[in-house]
């Protein structure tokens, strides 16, 4: 019997190529391509008065310079607003090249194409743009004050105001025995993959075909956008996702200006053109996330049970809003976490600022929501003098209340209904793992030695595997090898491995015989993309269904050949055999040959399928309602998302003198349904936790008042090195299957980052004894807080 692959922590099939240095990332392709560089705005807000390119013209190797004036028809229109929403009343998006106003530092104004990137930058440097600077709106306070406007026709800088409510929150708060108010805020951070954005385009005039490689999280999305912008038929555009050096959300945004400009210029110049973003460009011209301010009013009883929760928040979405309201809607809905909030009202403004746009970064609005809810839970516990886990426990949705309908609308436009989960058991596991009940003694002992240690925990629920759909295609080659394709893309999650595991189980073929291709529109044209922890759930399920269809077909053809009943067959190691009849067997490759009635023999295997060799002359060679080949194609489109959950606990020590924050323990209990490959899931958690540490203690976008990003390099933006992450991340799993897909799985990609800021804030608060209400927190900020609190000046 072939070992079941689902659930096995096997090594990844991707790695051999990558560790040899044989990966093919965007900039590893197109050595013969021309290079594009961009003149970008040095101002956060300015009118563009004049562009003088004279100085650039003499640069050797210059091919072309483009400004807004050069853009034809559809390219001259603003880039698409990808996700419209009725509440998004004032949506504005940028032009591919700035028209007459720039709205953030880094906005592209001129595109230069030259023989190589050095020369393109030489030319870009010689282009003189004259500006009339305008007042910049930077940060949520300035946006709310609206003393200046980002877009003159958007009053109050408000793109959208949206409210959702369940029950009568005003009455609930009026009647609650206890009411607390909290102000909480989180700063900007960003996905910051090690590889930035990049795009390479090749136009073939003879076949009238565009081939585009882009470092994206959605090849089909880019294809649709580029085809529309360039007026091409979808079938004339191939988009191929090469190896991608990390995404974490930023590469789901599309089309970037460069993604439409590069193919357009390749078409005009008749030569391949490539753009590869450098690190500074990534900081100032891709996307950020996270910045929000919240005001919370919460009502609860003497037991700590929530009666009403009223959340008003402000979301900074940057200069434009191409990705719509996804991030703040996720915050609004996922804020409630594993709890029953009582009456709930949440209202937000999504605000323009003269800074880089905001699109989802791993966690996508959830870290903020979890921070707000978990800080609220801790505040309730402090107010009532209860253990923090007890307050949580009292508000949990119980397993027997599943499925649980919150009465809210989720980011996919569907009702927010949790499908399954066991929060009390997760909490029990976490308490045990971290030693919660014994911690008071640890803290006291440390205090006695003059040390400050603290523990914090945070719980989250994460809607994963959002729709609309994904598809899978599985075909058995005459060689017996199995080729699998799905349309969504990979950025290091190990999809080739886990999808092959799913196919191996269904088709009974060895892993080595399965090859999986993702994100190539030539192989699979219908897809949505890789975001919202959806790849395993959506494409995994679709591939499972496609493999099942291929299996059924194979068994039917084999049953004919073996003169057996399909129900008596099994497939083991690529051989179809009659159970219990030794020797009655046929290889899957031969089955593939037989399934495709041939006229021509091209090798020995094919001979078996030619017209004088097989077939019942009384029937058509391909039976009615059948197709040649052992092939399966299927789609998975669930009614709604599936909800994963988890809880993290962290123990920190803060230095009494320097206020440095040291991580002593980091514990995770994680429930993403059944695990396809535990090793890969743990890897995802590790990476997420490190990003959570970054978001809690180090990473922020340091904009000054003029809208200059002061830390746009790896020198100044403090992304964690190994020295900043915990030495050990202790993980325990719970596997509550999802009833919503055939594999019982839930998404795992984002979870690790979600509760980080909340857990750290709680632990630092526990160590210090005063509330922590804003994240990230640096040693100097903690030092300052200590000073304020010792003087009794706290707010």
């Amino acid at each position: 019997m072939t070992t079941k692959m689902f659930g096995e922590p096997i090594a990844r099939v991707e790695d051999d190529r990558l560790v040899r240095g044989h990966g093919a990332y965007l900039d590893d392709l197109g050595h013969d391509a021309l290079a594009a560089a961009f003149v970008r705005s040095p101002h956060a807000h300015a009118e563009v008065l004049d562009i003088d390119v004279t100085g650039a013209l003499e640069v050797e190797g210059l091919l072309a310079i483009y400004t807004y004036e050069d853009l034809p028809d559809r390219l001259a229109e603003p880039l698409p607003l990808l996700i419209p929403h009725p509440s998004l009343t004032h949506g504005r998006t940028q032009y591919a090249l700035a028209r007459d106003v720039v709205n953030h530092v880094g906005e592209p104004i001129v595109m230069v194409v030259a023989r190589d990137r050095y020369l393109a930058e030489d030319a870009a440097e010689r282009i003189i743009v004259s500006y009339r600077p305008l007042p910049a709106v930077v940060g949520i306070d300035a946006a709310r004050a609206a003393e200046h406007l980002v877009h003159p026709d958007v009053p109050g800088n408000v793109a959208a105001n949206m409210m959702q409510r369940v029950g009568d929150v005003d009455a609930a708060l009026r009647n609650a025995p206890h009411v607390l108010e909290l102000d909480l805020s989180i700063e900007r951070s960003a996905s910051t993959p090690m590889e930035g954005r990049g795009v390479l385009a090749r136009w073939d005039p003879e076949s009238h075909r565009l081939r585009l490689w882009t470092s994206t999280q959605t090849s089909t999305g880019v294809r649709a956008a580029v085809a529309a912008k360039l007026g091409l038929a979808l079938v004339d555009v191939d988009v191929i996702t090469p190896d991608v050096g990390g995404g974490f959300g930023v590469k789901i945004m599309h089309p970037w200006p460069e993604e439409v400009l590069v193919p357009w210029s390749a078409q005009l110049l008749g030569q391949p053109v490539k753009f590869v973003e450098d690190r500074r460009e990534h900081f100032i011209s891709s996307a950020h996330e996270r910045a929000q301010q919240h005001h919370v009013r919460v009502g609860f009883d003497d037991e700590g049970q929530l009666l009403g929760l009223d959340v008003r928040f402000w979301h900074d979405h940057g200069a434009y809003i191409p990705y719509g309201l996804i991030v703040p809607i996720i915050t609004s809905t996922q804020l409630v976490g594993p709890y029953k909030p009582g009456a709930y009202r949440v209202e937000f403004d999504s605000l323009y600022t003269n800074t880089v746009i905001v699109t989802p970064y791993r966690g996508a609005g959830r870290p903020q929501g979890v921070f707000v809810m978990e800080r609220t839970m801790d505040a309730i516990a402090a107010e009532l003098g209860l253990d923090r886990t007890v307050v949580r426990e009292r508000n949990f949705i119980r397993p027997d209340e599943m499925p649980y309908d919150h009465g809210l609308v989720f980011q996919d436009g569907r009702p927010l209904i949790y499908d399954s989960g066991d929060y009390p058991t997760s909490l029990e596991k976490l308490k045990k793992l971290v030693g919660w009940d014994d911690f008071a003694a640890v803290r006291d002992a440390a205090r006695a030695e003059g040390r400050r240690v603290g523990i914090g925990l945070a719980c989250y629920v994460e809607g994963t595997g959002v729709g609309p759909y994904e598809g899978g295609h599985v075909v058995v080659e005459p060689s017996g090898k199995v080729k699998v394709a799905t349309g969504l893309t990979s950025q290091g999650q190990g999809h080739q491995t886990v999808f092959a595991q799913i196919v191996a189980d269904e088709l009974g073929v060895p892993m080595a015989d399965i090859e999986v291709v993702t994100g190539d529109t030539r192989r699979f044209g219908y897809a949505v993309g890789t975001f919202a922890s959806r790849a395993a759930v959506m494409s995994g399920s679709a591939i499972h269904l496609a493999a099942r269809a291929a299996r059924e077909k194979a068994l039917k053809v084999a049953a004919d050949a073996l003169e057996a009943d399909p129900d008596d067959l099994e497939i083991v190691d690529g051989i179809v055999r009659v159970v219990g009849v030794p020797g009655a067997e046929i290889s899957l490759g031969t089955v593939a040959v037989l399934s495709n009635p041939l006229r021509y023999a091209f090798d020995d295997a094919a001979k078996a399928a030619t017209q004088f060799a097989v077939g019942d002359t009384g029937k058509p060679p391909v039976p009615e309602d059948e197709e040649p080949g052992i092939e399966g194609r299927d789609y998975f489109s669930p009614m709604q998302s599936t909800f994963a959950s988890g809880m993290h606990a962290v123990v920190v020590e803060t230095d009494p003198d320097t206020a440095e924050i040291k991580i002593l323990r980091y514990c995770v209990v994680h429930d993403c349904g059944l695990l396809i490959n535990p090793r890969i899931v743990e890897g995802q958690i590790h990476g997420g936790v490190a990003q959570g540490v970054g978001g809690a203690l180090y990473e922020r976008m340091a904009y000054d008042e003029a809208g200059q990003l002061q830390n746009a390099s790896f020198m100044d933006f403090l992304m964690p090195y190994v020295s900043e992450v915990p030495e050990r991340i202790e993980i325990d799993h719970l596997e509550t299957p999802s009833p919503l897909n055939p594999l019982g799985i839930k998404g795992a990609g984002e979870a690790g980052v979600i509760p980080g800021a909340a857990a750290f804030a709680a632990a630092i608060e526990d160590a210090e004894g005063f509330p922590i209400t804003a994240m990230p927190i640096s040693p100097s900020e903690l030092f300052e807080l200590r000073r304020l609190h010792s003087k009794g000046l706290s707010t």
């Binding site: 560790v19 240095g21 093919a24 090690m194 990390g246 490190a690 390099s713 090195y721 992450v725």
Partner: protein, 165 residues
Amino acid sequence: MADEEHFDVQLVVNGAAHNVRVPARRLLSDCIRHDLRLTGTHVGCEHGVCGACTVLVDGVAMRSCLLLAVSVDGSRITTVEGLTERDGTLSPVQQAFEDCHGLQCGFCTPGFLTTITAGLRTNPDPTQDEARDLIGGNLCRCTGYQNIVKSVLRAAEIERERAAP
């Protein structure tokens, strides 16, 4: 503007001699990647902070984005492609990354592999703390470093296993 002045540079990369003609400002990283087309060496920042571009120059781990090709004329360079043994066997460090799930997107990986290879030559039997120190200057956004530290320790173990008679 006339074409800039070019210089002849001789490099022995992964044992093979290459003669290239490059302008003075050509970064070694670009020369390796685009002139020699050895694209295993990656560029993550081009300002010397992430370590993705690390190669061994005469055996010493260096950041190729901080070097000009002309400045290493005559050197012997090892890139990630050159770590693999001649018969195609993965080097101990490469094998360890595969064994320990030391990579996800793989973009930072070549820089870690070269750095660790050089590091283990100096300290073939690192402790956990020393393993962390050894990779302390390289950035990875995917793995949280947990399995990279494990890979360092595992690589040292494989070295020993392979050296054993």
